[in-house]
Symmetry: C2
């Protein structure tokens, strides 16, 4: 699509982030009035080539990446090159995506619906599980204890909306590096949203836009490691999934099946290594 010396193709995008927090007045247990920040939540209806797909409830911090990542993670588009433009208009709470050649199989894919734990509306669970069988995560990638700890330190600094207002989940994409090498645990992307599923979709969208590969990355989430979170990390080709929270049985089983290295309950210097331990270097 581009000559070798050109910048990679990028769809035409608005840049329509909304303010993330708003102030409301509450009364505390002592009867004192307090002005307290709360997280934004806005309906955003996704239209693709003039067809309405669904309405997402979102913080609105990264609406263009969210729309792209939704289409990617729902397997409705195969490549960011298929997208002509993504235009958000908050006056009508709409994001309008134009594609080169339409969505693949929208009707079939949304006919069977799955409400996943974190909500994967429109996803055919069976299809996702079949796709998972085709995922190959890099066997040679390793994660050191030092990189894990550096990442945990850095994400603590980044959770700004959560710290202010609560009621959001954060996801981060960070660099990894071979043992001893510099440049690991740098946060490339950090997205918060009122729904976990939106935060991970927005990361997936930005990875497409910025042509970022998952193989040498670490995915961090404040949310729980449910089946949906594990499937999405695997689909993005990321071998390391780290969470502050716990996991579900199905999250565990899928991570084992696909050979993902999954670390939960990770805060400060504590963690539990659940699956894929062969990639973890606890001594380094």
């Amino acid at each position: 699509m581009n000559a070798p010396d050109e910048a990679p193709y990028r769809p035409l995008l608005t840049n329509a982030a909304r303010p993330s927090t708003f102030s409301v007045t509450a009364v505390d247990e002592a009867g004192v009035e307090r002005t307290t920040p709360v997280a934004g939540e806005h309906p955003l209806t996704l239209f693709v080539d003039k067809q309405e797909v669904l309405t997402l409830m979102t913080l609105g911090a990264a609406p263009e990446a969210l729309a792209i990542g939704y289409l990617r993670n729902q397997r409705l588009l195969a490549s960011v090159d298929d997208i002509v433009s993504v235009q958000v208009d908050w006056d009508v709470n709409a994001v309008v995506v134009r594609t080169r050649s339409g969505l693949s199989d929208l009707e079939a894919k949304t006919q069977k619906r799955t409400r996943t734990t974190g909500c994967g509306q429109g996803t055919v669970f069976g299809d996702l599980m079949e796709d998972i069988d085709n995922v190959r995560l890099p066997a040679g990638a390793t994660l050191t204890r030092a990189t894990l700890y550096a990442l945990l330190d850095r994400v603590r600094v980044h959770e700004t909306i959560y710290k202010q207002a609560g009621a959001v989940h954060g996801c981060a994409l960070a660099t990894n590096a071979p043992a001893g090498a510099a440049g690991a645990a740098e946060i490339l992307m950090f997205v918060e949203d009122v729904g976990r599923h939106n935060a991970v979709d927005a990361i997936a969208g930005r990875m497409w836009l910025d042509r970022v590969d998952g193989a040498d990355k670490i995915f961090y989430t404040t949310g729980r490691l449910t089946s949906e979170m594990v499937i999405k990390a695997a689909q993005m080709g990321i071998p390391f999934l780290v969470s502050r929270s716990g996991l579900t049985q199905m999250g565990y089983e899928i991570a084992q099946k696909v050979g993902l290295t999954m670390i939960g309950r990770a805060t400060h210097r504590h963690f539990l290594l659940f699956t894929g331990g062969q990639r973890f270097r606890g001594d380094e």
Copy 2:
């Protein structure tokens, strides 16, 4: 449907709760192997009159009530009397609902899709907001500080799966009583699930089954007070919504609009009274 002295009608139900936790082995930061309980997560495909509606990912603690509450909260059925039977078969991960006269308007209602914060797949957001205008919450109901504190003490005891395994949200329906009267803050129902939206749907289903009215009740959730949570509490006719967590801007706006009394960040003896303060009796 029944003579006055008969028990109220109840659909034919299975009673197919799944075990809530499973054990997995993990390695902690000290390299020590630990057997740790994790929450179950299972796909459960809902069929109504032989038509597939969607697949829910659930803990499986109350699958029959979940299916009924989903149909209630999505406004696909008008009354529990319309349900002939609800049969769960985990061998095929299915719940089969038979109705007297079919679902109202399934195609129209699921054609427009909303992925809410906690996931309200299949809900038409605009329709819900219109329905909300018809909700009338009891103006004369009051909640005393003593009842609120008693409720917070009792829900702490109930969160058993969360305490064991994390990764679940809990919802409770509790009694209320006029100031000074006995019998308040008794927990009538307590449901945990891997998704907040499932826990609240299961409560709604049990309220239908047990013919429980919301007007003299309190709804408690461990989860965030998003638009979806506020809409569902209001639809169930419950004037008091209490959460351990924070809220979103839209949750706040809808609670104000509908006149719901909403209390967030409620733990031990702390809370923030956000909306509907005229129903709260802080001195009693």
